[in-house]
Amino acid sequence: MTTIGLSNDRADLQRTVADYLKMHAAHAETGGAEADGYSRDAWLRAASIGLPGMVISDNWGGLSLGWVEAAIVAFEGGRVNWQSPYLFTTLASAALEEAGQPDLQRTWLPKIREGRVTCAIAVLDEPGPHDPQQLTTSAERSSGDWVLNSEKLVVADGFQSDLLVVLCRTSDGIDGQTAFCVPATQSGVHREVLGSLDLGRPHALVTLDNVRIDDGSRLGPLGGGACLAAWLIPRVAVGVAAESVGIAAGALEIATRYAKERQQFGRPIGYFQGVSHRLADAYRRVENATSLVLRAAESLDDQDANAHRLASMARVLASRVARDVVGTALQVHGGYGYTWENRLHTYWRRATSNAYLPCTAEWHLEQLIADKPLIDLDEWEGTSGGG
């Protein structure tokens, strides 16, 4: 039984990260409107407090922390709209820990932990919902190596990152998927940045044109790609959700400050209930979404059977709350909120964009709707007996 003490450790972690980001994530690094992706230097500095190695095991010098901790960092990053490769690098490093062969781990995890290698995850072959059956990226054996061919769409951070986790088809059927780690410098990897709503996290089109990699780059067993994806999907969901709630919390703080300063009719606008009640509702929404994200992260750490369900719920709610609350913050700012100069539009861009990161919030909602046990809270009635 795990009991989380008013977890001095976690409270400390949150404070440490918040203080770090306040000091180091200066405006230029935190979604300055002209920003184009993340800053390498900032990420190397973040390694000084271990952020790139949050979920990397101590074997490779990482902090060996869980998903609650990883979510706390994502939340704090969202709060200041931190432009960094944190999210997908953390998730990819977790996949490497989970499924990588020892040599592959040895090659990459220490460098990831030092902030020298960043990662992206390339899944989608087609626009539209994630559908494992539709995977067309091919990986074929060729004298002991693999040769990869495909186009991967909308790869977040894909243009800048050094290492790509790529899901490929190695034979027909659901069991015919296999994941690989592909260095971006490998011959035949072409990347094109796509004009993206989220300026701090542009998407890329990644083309694999007869990319040759050795069998050691395989992530997990042959045909284990769907299984790895199923493992990764709730973790991506919780990571994106945590960042999204952080975005909402940050926007709410900015708007609350503004409502105390901005004077109209001789008073701060926060005096008027048309403003204050919207902010109170935004607070309620942020609190609830925060609670659900934490609960989902905990359930991942506890290997709870409900973890994927809670992760999907957190993903759906966090997406909604992020857009609603940043929308409220923009509204409270009036014309100033609509300007390029005011950084709130970077919050709006990320809140909106995050809803569509694979797997999209809508995809998760549809999984929940289709999941028969989900909408029964029958266990609630205590029919299962005591305790």
Binding site: M1, T2, T3, I4, G5, L6, S7, R10, A11, Q14, A71, I72, F75, A249, L252, T256, A259, K260, P268, G270, Y271, F272, Q273, S276, H277, L279, A280, D281, Y283, R284, V286, E287, N288, A289, T290, S291, L292, L294, R295, E298, D302, L310, M313, V316, L317, L365, L368, I369, L374, I375, D376, L377, D378, E379, W380, E381, G382, S384, G386, G387
Partner: protein, 411 residues
């Protein structure tokens, strides 16, 4: 304002043992078994056979008698007041289990949830000895006289006056929305002892005996048709000086304690009510047919149910997070009130959705065509009080805006 992402200890949790501390788990499972075995059978039947109000009140009385006999009441009250000497969290866990199993509300709910805790905090030794045990035993029912016709949310505008005369005080005025006044032996009353201009600083809290000639109670029929609340007139009613709760002109501080308790451990139960209500709606959606199939299989209905489930899961997670912070600090924060805010709006949406499921039978309250003997037609009326009673949603938004976000006191 800063949203705290960290968790307290997970001491209160719904359905799984691993989230509770060991003691809480033991207590929870014992409580659950006891509650299941002791809810009067007629209570569950009352859900579906349209039991009348008086019969329900009788069952609520029976329920509190059983709780009292088993020592399962006043869990967080001191032992020398007849309580169990536990924590607010014990109460929260117990109430959560009661809501899970759809147990009745104890007959003396005002005494238990607001009056008692306020007396424990502000009462004299003599007041504690005199009043607390009978609240637990329900031998004396309490009501709470705060609202007036011209002062609902705005307690600073209260006009019912109390004037000293000899060794006692004389009360004159008019209270309204006073739940269970017609059954109450005592009333915790807020009256003006200072000037009107003094507003909140001119109020005093009294413990008033309702059985005296100067008090007239007129039950008010609520929109469900039941007689749950009342108007109360005070015409030269008497209250002894020793029955002032707290200090003269400091009644507002006493009232704040009351409101905090209303939203404190008793506020950590809204998520449980929401879960029970949701479960009943899902059951309804399984029973009702749509296009030849159970309505629960319909894509649009599933989407709506799923969205409710997400909101309820989030609210539950918040309740546990707050329970953790309550366990760690012993403090009820003003942010706890968001649970009531959420419950008010969510419960209304849920019961209206339950009516939507019934389509053309929606307006049929009770006949052979009626569904579940008009339960949902009753609920859709009853739920309107959830955004009004115990602090309107507007007042709660003010509380969040001012006390949590630090915005100026506004209008």
């Amino acid at each position: 304002m800063r949203v705290d992402m960290t968790l307290g200890p997970r001491v209160s949790a719904g359905s799984d043992t691993e989230s509770d501390s060991t003691d809480a788990t033991t207590f929870r499972s014992a409580a659950r078994a006891w509650i299941r075995a002791n809810i009067p059978q007629e209570w569950h039947e009352a859900r579906t056979n349209g039991l009348d109000h008086q019969a329900r009140r009788a069952l609520q009385r029976e329920w509190q008698a059983r709780l009292h006999a088993a020592g399962l009441i006043g869990l967080d009250w001191p032992e020398d007041s007849g309580g169990r000497g536990g924590t607010l969290l014990d109460t929260a866990v117990f109430l959560e289990e009661c809501a899970r199993l759809d147990a009745p509300e104890p007959i003396n709910v005002i005494g238990l949830s607001t009056v008692g805790p306020t007396i424990i905090e502000h009462g004299t030794a003599a007041q504690k000895i005199r009043y607390l045990r009978p609240i637990l035993a329900a031998t004396e029912i309490w009501c709470q006289g705060f609202s007036e016709p011209d002062a609902g949310s705005d307690l600073g505008a209260l006009r019912t006056s109390a004037r000293p005369r000899g060794g006692h005080w004389v009360l004159t005025g008019h209270k309204v929305w006073t739940s269970y006044a017609q059954e109450a032996r005592f009333c915790m009353l807020l009256a003006r002892t200072g000037t009107v201009e003094a507003r909140h600083r001119g109020l005093t809290c009294f413990l008033v005996d309702m059985e005296q000639p100067g008090i007239q109670v007129r039950p008010l029929r609520d929109m469900t048709g039941e007689w749950r609340f009342a108007e109360v007139w005070f015409d030269q009613a008497h209250v002894a000086a020793e029955n002032i709760l707290g200090e003269v002109d400091r009644g507002f501080a006493v009232a704040l304690t009351t409101l905090l308790h209303e939203r404190g451990s008793h506020g950590l139960v809204h998520h449980a009510r929401a879960r029970s209500l949701y479960t009943a709606v899902v059951r309804l959606a399984r029973a009702i047919m749509k296009n030849g199939r159970p309505a629960v299989d319909d894509a649009v209905i599933r989407r709506k149910l799923t969205n409710f489930a997400i909101d309820i899961e989030a609210m539950t997670a918040t309740a546990y997070r707050y329970a953790g912070s309550l366990a760690a600090t012993g403090r009820v924060g003003p942010e706890f009130a968001i649970l009531k805010l959420q419950w008010g709006e969510l419960s209304q949406a849920l019961v209206e959705f339950a009516l939507d499921l019934q389509e053309a039978s929606g307006p049929i309250a009770d006949s052979e065509w009626g569904i579940e003997h008009g339960r949902w037609q009753y609920e859709v009326l009853r739920a309107r009080s959830n955004t009004v009673a115990g602090g309107t949603t507007e007042i709660i938004r003010n509380v969040i805006a001012e006390q949590v976000l630090g915005l100026p006191r506004g209008r």
